[in-house]
Amino acid sequence: MKTIHKILVVAVVIFTTGGMIVGCSSTKNAYTAATDVQDEFKIEKSGAQMWGEACNRCHLAPSPADYNDTDWSTIALHMRVRANLAENEIAKIETFLKSAN
């Protein structure tokens, strides 16, 4: 394998691991503080809006009425992993889907 390729692979690995470490090492308090500030000063996106945006990215978005709550829990977990969605994003969408079905 060519050296340039090795360098590229190593760079990708370092970048992702670095990102993960930074993401995971931010302490719980700092994180909540940041979101608290967001809550106060930003008008947060609703779960409904996030559903309209995120769930249309690959396929057409299903309607909340398509599944019951138990099914939505399973689907939300499946989509969270398959579509690599952020935890706060999928949590909000799931709450919306379960409230509107």
Partner: protein
């Protein structure tokens, strides 16, 4: 009303065990474990005209059941079987079978046979009810240059950067095998990605980084790589042939009021670089000749679709217009040398969010390749359904 309210309460306390147990009694308590059968199928009619040779056939009747076992809020198993009718035989495939566990809010581990996040087409867009066209772009699937799935372990996750989002996946799999031409001389130098038992001790490593730069999740750019230092069988002369593949993917989906509907753009570029090796060609008279070539391939596709979701007529709302361009270039000097360009167009009618009728036309111009090249035109009527 009470039922509805119970669900709202449940939804809000999701993932919070303490409060779960102290909420008011619910008339219906959803279970934490669940088993779901899902999947998709498709069927259709194909008319092909390859250099004047006409063929028509009812095709597909593919059935792909998906099994989802949710053990807890963190643990899940997914598996997909694929049944298809090909060459007058029933073919069964295990598309994926993996277990996933949420480690924390930014990390999930998966193990087993999973679809590889090499670009986005195979992992996210290939199921018949998601793919807007009845065919795959050049470079994917049979004789493709991009891997679809692998057996191994993977770590993935996503970060919300306060609007923009970043997602990553890193994995290790058995990696591909090199076809050395001893079985199929016309495929010498190709990679076989189906490698259920590794033929050497070198594993493949890969990953993808996806960035959604805007808060509305409309745009995603991804970069993937996949490499291994050995694809040949241990102790064979091809043992040390290394491979480096990369892909760049792009997606943009947005409802734009000015044009009364959804615009959906998707694209992916794949590049494959396999170390040069010497292969043997056996002539009809029994003479052997050694040859080599610069083993580099690439493929590309871009797809644009439009759905007039804000049109006044109910019929129009369910229509979709799709166009796709794709091309494939395989190494010069290889037995499988090929240059192909393909255009595909489709008019789709969405019966529901996961059931679609596609009426499509496709034209492919190729030089070289399996069928010797030329122009192949196809007309397809397909019906896909996810369930």
């Amino acid at each position: 009303m009470i039922v509805g309210f119970g669900h709202i309460t449940y939804g809000q306390t999701y993932n919070n065990f303490e409060t779960d147990s102290v909420t008011a009694p619910e008339p219906f308590k959803p279970s934490k474990t669940q088993f779901m059968i899902r999947g998709y199928g498709h069927t259709g009619l194909n008319f092909m005209n390859t250099e004047g040779e006409k063929e028509s056939s009812y095709v597909g009747s593919a059935f792909a059941p998906i099994f989802l076992f949710k053990h807890s809020d963190r643990l899940m198993f997914e598996a997909e079987l694929e049944f298809g009718l090909e060459n007058n035989e029933l073919e069964v495939g295990l598309e994926y079978a993996d277990v996933m566990y949420i480690l924390n809010k930014n990390m999930t581990v998966r193990a087993g046979k999973f679809l590889l996040p090499f670009g986005t087409f195979m992992e996210r867009l290939h199921p018949a009810w998601i793919n807007r066209l009845p065919t795959r772009p050049l470079g994917f699937g049979h004789d493709g240059i991009a891997p679809a799935s692998g057996i191994g372990v993977e770590l993935r996750g996503a970060f919300d950067l306060g609007g923009p989002k970043l997602n990553y996946a890193v994995y290790s799999t058995n990696g591909p095998r090199l076809k050395d031409g001893s079985v199929e001389p016309e495929e010498a130098g190709m990679l076989m990605f189906q490698n259920f038992e590794d033929n050497n001790n070198s594993k493949a490593f890969g990953g993808r980084i996806g960035l959604l730069p805007f808060a509305d999740s409309s745009t995603e750019i991804g970069f993937s790589s996949y490499s291994t230092s050995k694809v040949g069988t241990t102790d064979s002369e091809y043992e040390n042939v290394g491979v480096f593949l990369y892909a760049i993917d792009f997606a943009f989906i947005k409802q734009i009021p000015a044009i009364s509907g959804f615009i959906d753009i998707k694209g992916q570029y794949n590049n494959s670089d396999i170390d040069d090796a010497t292969y043997t060609e056996v002539h009809e008279d029994g003479d052997e000749e050694e040859y080599t070539f610069d083993n580099k391939s690439n493929s590309f596709y871009a797809q644009l679709s439009y759905r007039p979701t804000m049109a006044s007529s109910d019929f129009m709302k369910k229509l979709e217009l799709v166009g796709r361009y794709s091309n494939l270039n395989t190494p010069e000097g290889a037995e499988w040398e090929e240059r192909s360009d393909q255009y595909a167009f489709s008019l789709n009618y969405w019966l529901t969010w996961r059931s679609v009728i596609k009426v499509a036309y496709q034209t492919t111009d190729s030089v070289g390749g399996h069928d010797g090249g030329g122009t192949a035109n196809g007309f397809f009527i397909h019906w896909a359904i996810g369930f």
